[in-house]
């Protein structure tokens, strides 16, 4: 138990070596190590989910489920040379799919109140920027799920091609092609 209380300093910049150590400790069951990984990756996973589902409460629920699933399955995690975030993105993608599957049986998106979907935590932007962002977010929602993922990971999160490719289980070439098509499609919708 004593070892589980080791304090970890979280750096804002992603440090590969430090990250690997944290992952190793988390796999051994150190909750503090997983806590540090949570602090580091939770905002990006939240953004990923939020842009896809468009509702703060749902985004929070799904993000919580993603990290809960990650912690529950951490002992089975195997370092295959991919970044830890790729694994989290894969879990997040699956949870978003499950969310839509469950939602479909409940109600259709068209029947929902438009005010239900509002951009949270963007208070620093002026009204016109907020409206623009909401328009873009809705346009992203109209894209194919793979295109949505590429747009979020490449253009919002600025992740390298390699990381996106491993998160989406595709080649770097395929991701390049997809990002080109996704942007083209998004411009067409807007």
């Amino acid at each position: 138990m004593q070892s589980n209380q080791t304090a970890y300093i979280t750096f804002p910049m992603i440090d590969g070596t430090h990250d690997k150590e944290l992952v190793k400790d988390a796999v051994r069951g150190k909750s503090s190590a997983f806590g540090s990984l949570y602090d580091r990756y939770q905002p990006m996973i939240y953004r990923f989910v939020f842009v896809k589902v468009g509702r703060r409460e749902d985004a929070e629920d799904i993000t919580h489920q993603v990290f809960m699933a990650a912690w529950q399955n951490i002992k089975g995690y195997k370092d295959m040379g991919h970044p830890f975030s790729s694994w989290l993105y894969q879990i997040a993608r699956n949870h978003v799919i499950d969310h839509y599957r469950a939602k479909k049986s409940e109600t259709s998106l068209e029947k929902m109140d438009p005010d239900y979907f509002v951009m949270p935590a963007t208070a620093q932007f002026d009204l016109s920027t907020k409206i623009e962002m909401e328009k873009v977010r809705k346009a992203i929602g109209e894209l194919k799920p793979d295109y949505q993922d590429v747009i979020i990971m490449r253009f919002i999160e600025d992740l390298p091609l390699k990381e996106v490719a491993s998160a989406m289980d595709k080649t770097e070439g395929a991701v390049k092609l997809m990002q080109h098509r996704a942007i083209k499609e998004l411009k067409k919708i807007l």
Binding site: G35, R47, F50, E60, M68, W71, Q124, M133, V136
Partner: protein
Amino acid sequence: MNLLELLKQFKAISPDPAFKEQSKRAILATEPAAPVWTPRRMFFRVVETGVAVALTGFFIFLIMGGFSGSTISPVQYAALDPASLHAEAQAIDMQIQLAQLNYNEVAAAESTAQAGTVTAAPKTMGLMAITSSTSSTTLPAASTSTVTIDQALESLSR
């Protein structure tokens, strides 16, 4: 605003700090589950270990000199066999002598050619003149040029 710039603005979206703390506490309050050993997982683990052991054994066998000759014994080093070492040494000696012979041949040819140019007639006389003047020179090295490889090998073997 440019679309790409607008997309960058999305990075400002962040979760509610209260939710973040609450969620983290709730997650870390649970214990991670032990990995479930399904038959498929067990099969892959066994195959993975088996392949690793087999490959390690194969490479150790190769390092020990496996497949170096017709015999498969990994401990018998062909490079340390006295008979083969002796044969190899003899072959080297022979090669040195042949190289020496070759050098003599080239040196003789060169000296003959030089002598030929000194006594050569004007260009109009052509190749025949050069050949004739070459044949007229009597240099001691010229005699070595008549020794063929077969003769040299025969003398060496003697």
